[in-house]
């Protein structure tokens, strides 16, 4: 594939429904599955789909995200004809501008996209867990001679009112779009993944910003405008594993689903690897007091306690007598002796002191990044 499609990952959202977990880092940089961050799935999809150039649009708390994405080398996107470019809001001669919406973020980065000069623009969000071949979606786009293709997922009827719903004709052409409809007419939910003919979108955006009706958002403004002006807008049906991890509950649930080696995301498939920035840590060490069942454990962990139905990320320490069940422990967390953790997410580098009990039976427990709990300070 000759750089015909450029991917833009919109990774600037705050993800405020994740509470403490996105207090200091952007949602796409939130750790996932033991050795990943959420954006790894999207970036790996790009790399596996043969996309050479990726722009990552960041805004909110970008430090950890920028550091993670770096120059794309972890995803093999640092070759002579490929690259990852971090795109942050900047001040031009007409003043600084924050990105005010998904479409606005693309508009603000027209200079970058023009430089790449793609035929097609793939717009992605960096906060979903899934594997998808974007090249196949592009094929569909071309077959339909579409100017916009929207990836959709069939969701259960009763949940459809939580999504942007696409109503299609028998040829999969979109005839109506309804954002969170009370009475959904179909169950095809938008995944926030779009392929645009870049020239067309460029003109539409420039035209809108030259007037007063600024198109800030793809869902709210651009798609309705496309439909109104009779553009060829089609759906691309996706039917693999897909998970929005925008809330504490869904993040916890997605991690629990991730443990099962037979789940349909199939991360062990060597032909479609999920890449991440690799860090160097010694192998994980399980002492003679440890027991580990139905769990994932990653390098650098030290385990002397009991782990069941849980994920321990890089460099997690679990001391003797501690029981961790149905929980997701993020990298670098240190769990003391005789601790009980049930149904919880423990943030990066958090410290949980001896004998602490975290019981998330009612509501998933959350300990924030670098948060210290249950530690008594004897020194002073």
């Amino acid at each position: 594939m000759k750089n015909e499609m450029l991917a833009m990952i919109l990774a600037g959202g705050k993800g405020s429904r994740l509470g403490k977990l996105t207090k200091n880092i952007a949602k796409p940089a939130v750790p996932f599955g033991g050795r990943y961050r959420i954006i790894d799935f999207t970036l790996s999809n790009c790399a596996n789909s043969g996309i050479k150039n990726v722009g990552v649009v960041t805004q909110y708390q970008p430090l950890a995200l920028n550091n993670h994405v770096d120059n794309g080398t972890s995803w093999g996107l640092d070759g002579i004809n490929s690259g990852v470019t971090i795109l942050q809001p900047y001040a031009g001669s007409d003043g600084g501008k924050w990105f005010e919406g998904t479409a606005h973020a693309i508009y603000q980065n027209i200079a970058y996209i023009d430089e790449m000069n793609p035929e097609y623009l793939l717009v992605l969000s960096g906060d979903h867990i899934y594997k998808m071949d974007y090249e196949e979606m592009l094929e569909t786009h071309k077959e339909n001679d579409a100017s916009l293709t929207v990836a959709v997922l069939e969701v259960p009827e009763k949940e459809a009112s939580r999504f942007g719903i696409m109503n299609t004709d028998e040829n999969d052409r979109i005839i109506e779009f309804e954002e969170k409809p009370e009475n959904p007419k179909s169950n095809l939910a938008s995944m926030g993944i779009y392929i645009f003919d870049w020239n067309r979108l460029r003109n539409v955006l420039l035209n809108s910003y030259s007037k007063d009706d600024h198109m800030l958002d793809f869902g709210k403004h651009v798609i309705p405008a496309y439909l109104e002006s009779g553009e060829n807008v089609f759906v691309y049906r996706f039917n693999g594993y897909w998970k929005d991890v925008g809330t504490i509950d869904s993040l916890w649930e997605a991690n629990m689903e991730f443990i099962d080696p037979n789940m349909n995301l199939d991360i062990r498939d060597k032909s479609w690897r999920v890449y991440s920035k690799n860090t160097i840590s010694p192998p994980n060490f399980l002492t003679d007091t440890a027991s580990v069942t139905d769990s994932l454990i990653v390098d650098g962990c030290y385990v002397a306690g009991h782990i069941k139905n849980s994920i321990l990320s890089n460099d997690v320490q679990v001391k003797e007598g501690t029981k961790i069940t149905e929980s997701f422990i993020m990298p670098g967390a240190s769990i003391g002796k005789n601790v009980t953790i049930h149904r919880a997410i423990i943030g990066e580098d958090a410290v949980v002191g001896d004998n602490t009990v975290i019981d998330g039976t009612e509501e998933v427990g959350v300990v924030g990044y670098s948060e210290v709990i249950g530690v008594t300070m004897d020194e002073d």
Binding site: P261, Y275, S276, N278, P282, P283, F285, T287, T293, L296
Partner: protein, 390 residues
């Protein structure tokens, strides 16, 4: 420290037959260790941790494939960049030059001159350690002698016949350099020369130029060993973790050492990181039926059986009902249901059929060569066995 103060030469040409078949088709340097490392990671990491940005490595002809596979562009060791380089040279090229009576150290002298370094450190991959070379350099500078030799006090069983040991005065001056002889052993501890040397680069260049007129050994390690007692040398006592790898037992014991929390931490969690080739692997999955204790695992494994006192490398599949006890499993093994493995070393890419037993002894662990498909029981006291289907 200024970046080009030190340059490094890493020699990897010694062969130890007692390590066969583990060193079939690979140099000692790329022998896997502690689930995810290769022996060469240890000297290389000590070198880069001392802010050394140029390394000259010497290997035997025909033994470089696994070296290139492992080191690649050198990125993981920060040896790829504007200021950072590594070079690989074949020992046999020195020998060829020597046979033609020409200046056989020329490639090495070229390297040393171009490095513009003030000091040169020599190391090999046989001694697994994590050493602060800057501290050794400091001692070298303070004493201002020609050579500084690193040693460690060890028990005689940790020494092999080709090693040399030092006799020292109370204040660390060398009084004697001698080959190690097991049978006349009287001391409880010996000062094992770790074959880590720091010398002035200029001094080394001069000695090499002289040496090649006198037929000095083409192997730099030999060359330096012979110099220890003929010039003014200082010593540096290394006190960290050390394993000396020269036969199957020393390798097996060093691997089991890593299950000792203190030794593991001393080698792998010191303030100097050990770098290795990065692999993109999935987390290791432990199933409902897994029963693991006092063991080490790399990523990418699926563990459904019982693992005790063992070291399991990347991408190993351990099916239900298996037992792995006091064993070393190198990458990508498949241990099928009901198999039992005890006191054994499985090299890379082994398949063990269901129910098969591979059992050695503590003193004589069974070694299974890489890429074998083991279909019959191997219960033996021999160190190396045949009788397996390839």
């Amino acid at each position: 420290m200024r970046t080009n103060k030190l340059c490094a030469v890493l020699g990897n040409i010694q062969r130890y037959n007692a390590l066969l078949p583990l060193t079939n088709e690979r140099p000692l340097a790329t022998l896997p260790f502690a689930c995810k490392y290769r022996l060469i990671d240890f000297p290389l990491s000590s070198i880069v941790n001392a802010n050394i940005n140029t390394v000259y490595m010497i290997f035997n002809e025909g033994e470089t494939q696994s070296v290139f596979d492992h080191i690649g562009g050198g990125k993981e060791w920060n040896l790829e960049g504007v200021h950072n380089r590594f070079f690989i040279h074949l020992y046999q090229d020195f020998l060829k030059l020597k046979a033609h009576n020409t200046s056989y150290y020329r490639p090495l002298i070229d390297y040393l001159e171009k490095s513009k370094s003030e000091y040169t450190v020599y190391m090999s991959s046989k001694m697994i350690c994590n050493i602060d070379l800057r501290a050794v350099l400091k001692i070298h500078q303070q004493h201002n002698n020609e050579m500084t030799v690193v040693y460690k006090k060890v028990k005689p069983e940790m020494i092999c016949q080709s090693d040399i040991v030092l006799s020292l005065t109370d204040n660390g001056r060398i009084t004697e350099v001698r080959p190690f002889m097991e049978h006349v052993q009287t001391e409880e501890q010996e000062n094992l020369c770790m074959d880590i040397y720091i010398v002035q680069t200029e001094w080394l260049i001069q000695r090499l130029k002289e040496g090649q007129h006198e037929g000095a050994p083409a192997d730099l390690q030999d060359f330096l060993r012979k110099k220890i007692h003929t010039v003014k040398s200082s010593t540096y006592e290394y006190t960290g973790y050390l394993s000396n790898i020269f036969d199957v037992n020393s390798y097996y014991n060093a691997s089991l050492d890593m299950l000792n929390q203190q030794k593991f931490s001393s080698l792998l969690y010191s303030n100097q990181k050990i770098y290795t080739k990065l692999k993109n692997e999935v987390p290791t999955y432990y199933s409902d039926s897994s029963e693991v204790s006092n063991s080490q695992f790399a990523t990418g494994c699926i563990v459904e059986g019982k693992v005790v006192g063992s070291s399991i490398s990347r991408g190993t599949v351990i099916e239900k009902g298996t037992e792995i006890i006091d064993s070393i499993i190198m990458p990508s093994a498949k241990i099928c249901a009901g198999a039992k493995i005890q006191n054994a070393i499985l090299d890379k890419n082994i398949v063990v059929d269901p129910g098969v037993q591979i059992i050695g002894t503590k003193e004589n662990p069974v070694v299974i060569e890489k890429y074998q498909h083991v279909t019959n029981d191997i219960i033996t006291k021999e160190a190396v066995v045949s009788g397996i289907d390839g």
